[in-house]
């Protein structure tokens, strides 16, 4: 594919973020399957090697979640509830209003894959499994990949078994085993995407991008074919970019699968210079390299740690390093309602940050309490200055 010129590439990335069905629709029009996945640790290489486009399912502000909340009640991250709403009502198109394609043209995924990256994902899987069993709703087939994260050998062996099973399931689904050449191509494509993402992070740290634009560019990579994303992102990064001035803040805590919160922050005079959640900088991964199931297992067991699987002391060290590396003057630990695990590590993170730190808890999906943030950070800054 010929690389687009930088401005067009940036436009393409933004379009892929704003309309996550855009590339899925193109694939579907070619008669090729689309797999919707949930979990930052999904072995997307296997999905791509099986000939499908992996698209990470995301929430959308304003989506009607009434039905989903009925089933996935209790303390479950509203991001997962929002995704369940999309699965249960696929006719509702996720594109920005007044843009094409028309609502009924977005394809539902041919298959849904969910991993055990956090409790909300697990509960979402259980909900879908039970809804299907009792015949309450219809939706595409769902596979669950139980990847776990303790550092010991038992976990790695368990994960190898789960990845082998997933490869077998994909083979059964499409009617043919994944061969070595297909896996090699998929690994190479996704490693190219990883390398481009790493460059994006470097450019962002060098002061070339706003946080909301960086997040859009990252997110685009989870809705586009990997090689096309690598080329497009590389092209976009070749252009001249600039970021606005703002109070530099590092964002920790809940993940952000849309740019709504970042837009709100940056509209309020903040500048998001880094984050540790897996939709942003925290999704950085080293290359897999070797195209084998064993290498995939090592990668998804050791190199891709979902946020909640990262030990607090490691998170605190990472915050200290990230504040230094990103030039952040503030740290925000943002916790969506019911996504409380981050709160257990907050005191250690705040102590390690060395800059004013704030905790926002019980935040709504895609929303943020900006007055509370300003109040916490600026008053703390004044105290530290005294």
């Amino acid at each position: 594919m010929e690389s687009p010129e930088p401005r067009q590439a940036a436009t393409d990335l933004r379009a892929a973020h704003d309309d996550r069905g855009l590339h899925a629709l193109r694939r579907a029009a070619q008669g090729r399957p689309v797999v919707g996945y949930i979990g930052c640790d999904t072995p997307v290489e296997l999905i791509a090697a099986a000939g499908a486009l992996p698209v990470r399912l995301a929430g959308r502000a304003g989506r009607d979640t009434t039905l989903a909340r009925t089933y996935l009640d209790g303390c479950v991250d509203p991001q997962a509830v929002n995704i369940l709403a999309a699965i249960l009502t696929p006719q509702e198109h996720d594109a920005v209003p007044d843009q094409t394609p028309a609502p009924d043209q977005t394809p539902a995924p041919d298959l849904i894959v969910i991993t055990h990256d956090c409790d909300a994902s697990l509960q979402l899987f259980y909900t879908l499994r039970e809804l299907r069993r009792i015949g309450a709703q219809t939706f595409p087939p769902v596979h669950f990949v139980d990847l776990l994260y303790l550092p010991g050998e038992p976990t790695r062996r368990h994960n190898l078994g789960r990845i082998r099973r997933f490869a077998d399931q994909l083979a059964a689904w499409r009617g043919r085993a994944i061969d070595a050449a297909e896996l090699a191509e998929a690994v190479a494509d996704h490693d190219a995407a990883r390398a481009a993402r790493t460059e994006l992070r470097r450019r962002r740290r060098a002061g070339a991008l706003s946080g909301s634009e960086a997040l859009r560019w990252y997110a685009a990579g989870t809705a586009m074919p990997a090689r096309e994303y690598a080329d497009t992102l590389t092209a976009a990064l070749a252009g001249d970019t600039a970021r606005p001035a703002g109070r530099a803040v590092f964002v920790s805590g809940s993940s952000h699968d849309t740019a709504d919160v970042y837009d709100a922050l940056e509209g309020d005079g903040w500048l998001v210079v880094g984050e540790d959640h897996d939709w942003g900088d925290g999704g950085d991964q080293p290359p897999i390299g070797e195209p084998t199931l064993e290498a995939l297992t090592d990668h998804y067991t050791r190199a891709v740690l979902p946020t909640v699987a990262r030990p607090p002391h490691r998170m605190a060290d990472a915050i200290r390093d990230a504040v230094g590396g990103s030039g952040a003057h503030y740290v925000l630990t943002y916790c969506r309602q019911y996504d409380d695990a981050h709160r257990w590590g907050y005191p250690a993170q705040a102590a390690a940050a060395g800059v004013p730190a704030a905790l926002l808890r019980d935040q709504p999906y895609a929303g943020i309490d900006l007055p509370d943030l300003s109040s916490q950070l600026l008053s703390q800054e004044a105290r530290m200055a005294r």
């Binding site: 409790d119 509960q123 038992p154 409380d340």
Partner: protein, 421 residues
């Protein structure tokens, strides 16, 4: 209604268990003061491994129930808040940590929990692992985590399969994982405690604990089939659960047998908690530790008796695992334990089965903040024609509920149920 029935002394098995537990805890405190290592473990950690090493252990949730019953939860949770830690997340698991981080006072329940030598918990949910790591980072207590694996496909009728065909019920990968983890845990515990693991002892412990489960199954079946409920649920809970925390000992097995024999004779005598039993109720959810009298508060006014809590039913169905390899059987006992209570289809099909066999007229469904899949439980019961009242509160945190308001709410709901008289 007979005053004799209502004022009857506490079930002998419950009184014996409570006495034993106090004595055992006092001994443990004394041994800990002398420097003997002990462990604090979550309820669904394979405690039999520690017993096979002769390492004493305290069950985290049991100790939470003691803190809660002594109405100390609010004060201890305050210690978490003062440190910037959550006081409103997984309180049932967090209370012992909160106590350990609180200033020591003379009024600590049962003299207070000494600082353990090691804590063990599985990584279910997102918070537990981080919470337990605080034992290590804040208090210097070693934390040994275990995975919490999940299955993609399970057969619904686990209670029929679990005793002998647990490989089919659970699936081998989850059992493989925990078995490997337990094999790795042994040398680590030996290093931390100086104790030694005995496979022969584990085999005996598994045999005794299976025998204990069989007694509990007989007791559960007896209570289900008895014409009227002969024992109050708040007596059954300690009579079952305290021996449960001593699972695999001769005392615990004898206690389970003693409970069966006592209940059996009460049924034979025709005893009833409520002589004119008008409504039979089921309590789904954890025990309301800070207000255990709640369970008996509708007997005189409404002729309503709680005939079921999950504690005896789990003791009857969820623990027995037979097999030639004790360590693998132990792994099978715990690698899917929570699913039996909380994960559909297992949870909903089991609750519905239990509601039917106990002939309940209605279910009070306590939905704790960390409860999962509660909609499916309520849906399945209502579909089976069983009325359900949902209550949302944390069972261990007395701040989360107004007892008087709860009583009024349940009373009004009971009045809406069919009356057998």
């Amino acid at each position: 209604m007979s005053d004799r029935t209502l004022s009857r002394p506490r079930l002998g098995a419950a009184g014996d268990a409570l006495r034993h537990q106090r004595e055992w805890f006092a001994t443990l405190r004394g041994q800990a003061a002398q420097g003997r290592p002990f462990a604090l473990v979550n309820a669904d950690v394979p405690q039999e491994l520690l017993r096979a090493m002769d390492v004493p252990y305290v069950v985290n949730q049991w100790w939470s129930s003691i803190i809660s019953a002594k109405r100390m939860s609010g004060r201890y949770l305050e210690a978490l808040r003062e440190r910037g830690l959550p006081d409103d997340v997984e309180q049932y698991s967090a209370l012992p940590l909160a106590e350990a981080l609180s200033p020591r006072g003379d009024d600590a329940p049962w003299g207070g929990l000494p600082l353990p030598s090691v804590v063990i918990a599985d990584c279910s949910g997102d918070s537990l692992r981080r919470m337990f790591q605080l034992w290590e980072s804040e208090l210097g207590v070693a934390f040994l985590p275990l995975e919490s694996a999940a299955a993609e496909i399970v057969p619904a009728n686990w209670w029929e399969l679990m005793r002998h065909d647990w490989e089919t019920a659970i699936g081998s990968p989850r059992i493989d994982l925990l078995q490997l983890e337990l094999q790795g845990l042994v040398p680590r515990l030996e290093q931390l405690t100086g104790a030694r693991f005995s496979p022969e002892r584990l085999a005996r412990i598994m045999a005794l604990s299976n025998e204990q489960a069989e007694w509990n199954r007989r007791t559960r079946d007896l209570l289900a089939s008895a014409p009227r409920c002969p024992v109050p649920v708040n007596d059954v809970i300690p009579a079952v659960m305290i021996p449960q925390w001593h699972r695999g000992t001769p005392w615990a097995t004898a206690a389970a047998e003693s409970l069966y024999r006592e209940v059996s004779s009460l049924v034979a005598e025709g005893r009833a908690v409520v002589p004119r039993e008008r409504r039979r109720l089921m309590w789904i959810g954890r025990g309301l530790w800070f207000d255990m009298d709640f369970y008996r508060s509708f007997e005189q006014s409404h002729g309503a008796v709680f005939v079921w809590s999950m504690y005896l039913a789990l003791a009857a169905d969820a623990y027995a695992r037979y097999g030639d390899d004790p360590l693998r059987a132990l792994a099978a006992r715990f690698c899917a334990f929570r699913d039996q209570m909380y994960t559909p289809p297992w949870s909903v099909e089991w609750y519905t089965k239990e509601a039917r066999t106990h002939r309940v007229d209605g279910v009070v469904h306590l939905i704790s903040p960390d409860s999962r899949a509660s909609w499916f439980t309520t849906h399945a019961l209502r579909k089976a024609g069983i009325p359900v009242l949902e209550i949302r509160a944390d069972n261990a945190d007395g701040r989360s509920l107004d007892p008087a308001a709860l009583h009024d709410q349940v009373a009004r709901w009971i009045e809406s149920l069919p009356d057998h008289t």
